[in-house]
């Protein structure tokens, strides 16, 4: 609609502010035409330009001796020895999944796989971090079902194992679920390829799916504004995934790179050809010509701007030397995937759009890719708790009832219902499957070691204290890795927040990034890539601020990854500085008593505990290890009992004495820096005296879980606990709406 018809001027319809539009005119020295305006609107969107977060992100540590590729590439990568690198990245597909959960999640997985494929790596694992509302509404059950099926559909069909992840259910995600997918890939370091265009005269080859009208402005439009009523009308902007096409694309890319036929490679994601070609030229300091008349189309009559912004999935862009073009096209034909030379690298510094040789748009690459203004935020700390509180636990519930209620909490209960729908074994690397240990472990015989991968982020605790909550999420990732004997190599992250133009959200974002930077620096774990997803907000308010941290670590003996069940007679110890508190805990949530604030916790003592546990696991001194997180020590103990099929008797007196806390705090309090270790008593005792608290609290036996804590005792039958922990599938499968896939 044009302004003359009484609507918004075109640039506002496309999401640009008046000031941004004026800047575009100033940079171009004229009015942009329709093609140019469409291209600007996408690359200057929040999703592509990070205009509200880029300044803050500068404080993250990005360098380290093992970093091979850092932020700015399609994914980050770290060296894992013997000439091999592991590439990884996490990315969100929140808004598309809110609008169409199956395709939204499927294409989220497809997109992150392509980021890793574009580096020349073969994906070897997928992890997912998901957030939904409580499963007692039909909408949430519909979203959960669609998202889990969508993830499975894409990963399973591609033959990439889904090995881990997390799912939280909290009311603030009811209308705005989060779907963050992480991919881990493996590559020969010397065969990895960058995304920078190079060599004027080199050809630009587009290959993969045909370009259609699907997802015109999809990710960039959906991800750059709040969700509101009438979003069903946005369904056509959600892309449709085709994992078969991507499976061919993966093999094709691997062969192209193995044959040394490519100068550079880039995937097409949000903002399609505009973004991938523009960023290639920007990274290489070149110009680029793209002739839309040469692009293989699904629909013949597409306009130039539609071709430039289409978000059709499963497409890649490569720069190829003229002599190699024939070989590249032949390999694409072998893999039955469409391919065409669509343009050329130039030294003009301009991004020129042609149609059958005639120029239809021309923008300086620099203006398009780096010209978007970056904004300072206007943060303000909220005076009080801004999220709902809803009590679900009887106030008079005793410790035993509370424990069962925590084990049945959807966020804590076993996620087997979801994991069983994912192929976790393809690829012959999976040592620990999802749910079997704190971190997924993947064998890497290529370099005689294994890697461990974890993904974490507890939005509720971040809402209580964004800085401390984000530090905790990062420490928990490292703690999960320690439980399988792995040392962190690098970090990726996805920052899911509400509208950054609102002061409270701006404050949450600033605090969280500060926390992430502090924790990563302390752990010596550089941030090698990531993604920011803002405007996760509906008329009922913002989501919990949800930084999701993904971490990759290495271990040298997958046989010693401490994932074994505990055994009758094993001693049980609590290790680390954990000072349990009900603030921000799952129990406080169930009581409807959430409020602002978390107890401060020093990073260094937690780091020392993480190192002690890692070394103990590596030395084979413990049979099993887990970190204390949601639901506190009692929940961690009960989960190990359930996993192992044997109960325990424990007395938390040493924890209470150490921290002068209440029995209830000791049972259900949360906080960073706590581990449960089980194994041989003498071996556990030997862990003491190394500067980290180690308290023996009990022994494994029988079919009862009995945990004494001063005036409170949680005492439940193993069978009852198991039934509570396995209750999620019944809650999600109840009144399942009609299945559409």
């Amino acid at each position: 609609m044009s302004a003359a018809e009484g609507g918004q001027p075109p640039h506002r319809e496309l999401g640009l502010t008046d000031a941004e539009y004026d800047l575009i005119r100033e940079k171009m020295g004229r009015e942009p035409n329709g093609v140019e305006l469409a291209m600007f609107s996408l690359l200057w969107s929040e999703h592509c330009a990070y205009k509200h977060s880029r300044k803050l992100l500068r404080q993250l540590p990005t360098e380290g001796p093992r970093v091979v590729m850092g932020p700015g590439e399609n994914a980050g990568a770290v060296d894992v020895g013997d000439g091999w690198s592991v590439a990884f990245k996490v990315e969100s597909h929140n808004h598309p999944s809110a609008v169409e959960p199956f395709q939204g999640a499927a294409t989220g997985v497809g997109g992150i796989l392509r980021d890793v494929i574009a580096l020349g790596a073969r994906p070897i694992a997928i992890l997912d971090s998901l957030r939904f509302g409580e499963p007692d509404t039909e909408r949430t059950r519909y979203l959960v079902d669609g998202v889990v099926r969508g993830i499975g559909h894409y990963g399973n069909s591609m033959g990439i194992p889904t090995v881990g992840g997390e799912i939280y259910f909290e009311p603030p995600y009811e209308q705005n679920p989060l779907v963050n997918a992480m991919c881990v890939g493996l590559a020969r370091t010397d065969e990895m390829v960058r995304a920078a265009a190079a060599g004027a005269g080199n050809k630009v080859v587009l290959f993969g799916s045909l370009t259609g009208r699907d997802g015109i402005g999809g990710a960039s439009v959906l991800a750059s504004a709040e969700l509101d009523e009438g979003d069903d009308a946005k369904r056509p902007t959600v892309q449709i995934g085709d994992p078969f096409e991507e499976a061919k694309l993966l093999e094709c890319c691997q062969e192209l790179l193995a044959e040394g036929l490519l100068v550079s490679l880039q995937d097409l994601g949000a903002a399609g050809l505009t973004s991938s070609a523009g960023e290639m030229a920007s990274a290489g300091g070149t110009g680029i010509d793209i002739d839309v008349g040469l692009v293989p189309l699904r629909e013949a009559d597409m306009e130039p701007f539609e071709i430039m912004v289409s978000e059709s999935q499963e497409r890649m862009l490569a720069v190829v030397e003229p002599d190699e073009v024939e070989a590249v096209l032949a390999l694409c034909a072998k893999w039955q995937t469409a391919s065409a030379v669509v343009g050329e690298v130039t030294d003009s510094g301009a991004f020129r759009i042609l149609k059958h040789g005639e120029t239809v748009g021309e923008i300086r690459v620099e203006d398009l890719v780096d010209g978007c203004p970056l904004y300072d935020l206007d943060p303000a700390e909220p005076a009080e708790w801004i999220y709902p509180n809803r009590g679900t636990l009887r106030p008079e519930a005793d410790a035993s009832e509370s424990l069962l209620s925590l084990l049945a909490a959807p966020s804590i209960a076993s996620k087997r219902w979801a994991y069983d729908q994912y192929d976790s074994v393809v690829g012959s690397r999976t040592v620990h499957r999802a749910g079997a240990a704190d971190a997924a472990v993947l064998n890497l015989p290529e370099s005689d070691r294994a890697i461990a991968v974890a993904i974490d982020g507890n939005g509720r605790r971040v809402a209580c204290d964004p800085r401390q909550g984000t530090i905790e999420a990062t420490l928990e990732c490292a703690a999960n890795l320690a439980c399988v004997g792995a040392e962190p190599l690098g970090v990726t992250n996805c920052l899911n927040f509400g509208n950054p133009e609102k002061p409270t959200v701006a404050w949450q974002l600033g605090q969280a990034i500060e926390g992430l930077a502090a924790a990563c620096r302390a752990l010596g774990a550089p941030v090698v890539g990531g993604n920011v997803s803002l405007y996760n907000e509906t008329p009922s308010g913002p989501i919990y601020p949800t930084p999701v941290v993904g971490m990759v670590g290495e271990l040298f003996d997958p046989e010693r990854a401490a994932g074994e069940p505990w055994r009758e007679g094993d001693a049980v110890a609590i290790v680390g500085p954990l000072n349990p508190s009900l603030a921000g805990s799952e129990l406080e949530k169930q009581r409807g008593q959430l409020g602002r604030g978390l107890p401060a916790a020093e990073i260094e003592p937690v780091k020392a505990a993480i190192e002690l546990v890692r070394e103990a696991v590596r030395a084979g001194e413990v049979r099993t290890a887990t970190d204390v997180s949601d639901g506190g020590i009692a929940t961690a103990l009960a989960e190990l009992a359930i996993r192992s099929g044997i109960g325990l008797r424990a007395d938390l007196a040493p924890v209470i004495a150490q921290h002068d806390c209440s029995g209830e705090d000791a049972l259900f309090g949360e906080g960073p820096g706590g581990f449960v270790l089980a194994g041989d008593r003498q071996a556990l005792e030997r862990l003491g005296g190394r500067g980290v608290q180690v308290e023996l609290i009990g022994a494994v036996a029988g079919d009862l879980i009995e945990i004494v804590a001063d005036d409170r005792t949680a005492k439940v039958l193993l069978g009852e606990a198991t039934a509570a922990h396995d209750s999620l599938d019944r809650r999600i499968e109840s009144d399942q709406p009609g299945l559409t896939h």
Binding site: N156, G159, E245, K248, E251, D420, S424, V425, V426
Partner: protein, 229 residues
């Protein structure tokens, strides 16, 4: 011996199958190779694996397109000559679609994709793939599929049972998909072609929790060595 592992566009488990063949062959690199779907020359190969995955995308029906591939024409001749052919998951579906094995695989009763470790009971079929497995033995291997419900019309099912063509059944209580008679795998009448839905190629290394799947690959090697001697 040298194994050939078919590779279609959309195959997923071909590398796992290759790995299993190589481990079964003692780790020598000469023991297995991929066979591209357009290849028709299987000379020099002693046994064929049609692996899991989604051949050609499986949009129409699992295995429905792959049966027409040039490589499958060659596999049909290979099988007709009495030589060993193993179909795993999608490979089982392809062999059924090709008419090399009886029955059909339908969508799981629960409609969902399932992936979990489970137990199979070895059947009484006479097949080189079962040479190292006595009937009644239990093996632990991953179940992993969305269209794995074995179906055959009553007369065919009766003849499969009567001819002792059942290679594997899901252990009691572990049928994950509603397969008739708990059937997880069958052979052709001659026994040289065997198809199963679960994944022996994912159970060949100790770190994955089970090495029970190796027996199928080693069984063939033993029976080939036996017949050569």
């Amino acid at each position: 011996m040298i194994w050939g592992v078919l590779q279609f566009p959309g195959s997923c488990d071909e590398r796992d199958a290759l790995n299993a063949c190589q481990i079964a062959g003692g780790g020598s690199g000469e023991s297995a190779r991929l066979v591209w779907h357009e290849e028709t020359d299987l000379s020099g190969l002693d046994a064929i694996v049609v692996p899991g995955g989604f051949s050609y995308g499986d949009y129409l029906r699992a295995g429905a397109i792959a049966r027409f591939s040039p490589a499958m024409t060659a596999v049909a001749e290979f099988a007709a000559a009495g030589r060993p052919v193993l179909g795993i998951c999608n490979g089982f579906q392809v062999l059924c679609e090709s008419g090399l094995l009886p029955g059909a695989l339908l969508t799981n009763e629960g409609t969902r994709f399932i992936c979990r470790q489970g137990e199979l009971v070895v059947g009484e079929a006479d097949s080189p793939f079962l040479a190292a497995l006595e009937p009644g033995r239990r093996i632990s291997i991953p179940f992993k599929h969305q269209s794995g419900r074995f179906f055959a019309p009553p007369e065919l099912l009766a003849s499969i049972e009567a001819n002792r063509q059942v290679a594997f059944r899901y252990a009691p209580g572990q049928n994950p998909n509603g397969s008739l008679n708990d059937i997880a795998g069958v052979t052709n009448e001659a026994g040289n072609v065997l198809g199963l839905m679960p994944h022996p190629e994912h159970a060949v290394e100790a770190f994955t929790g089970s090495t029970d799947g190796l027996a199928l690959f080693r069984g063939v090697a033993e029976s080939l060595a036996g017949s050569a001697a």
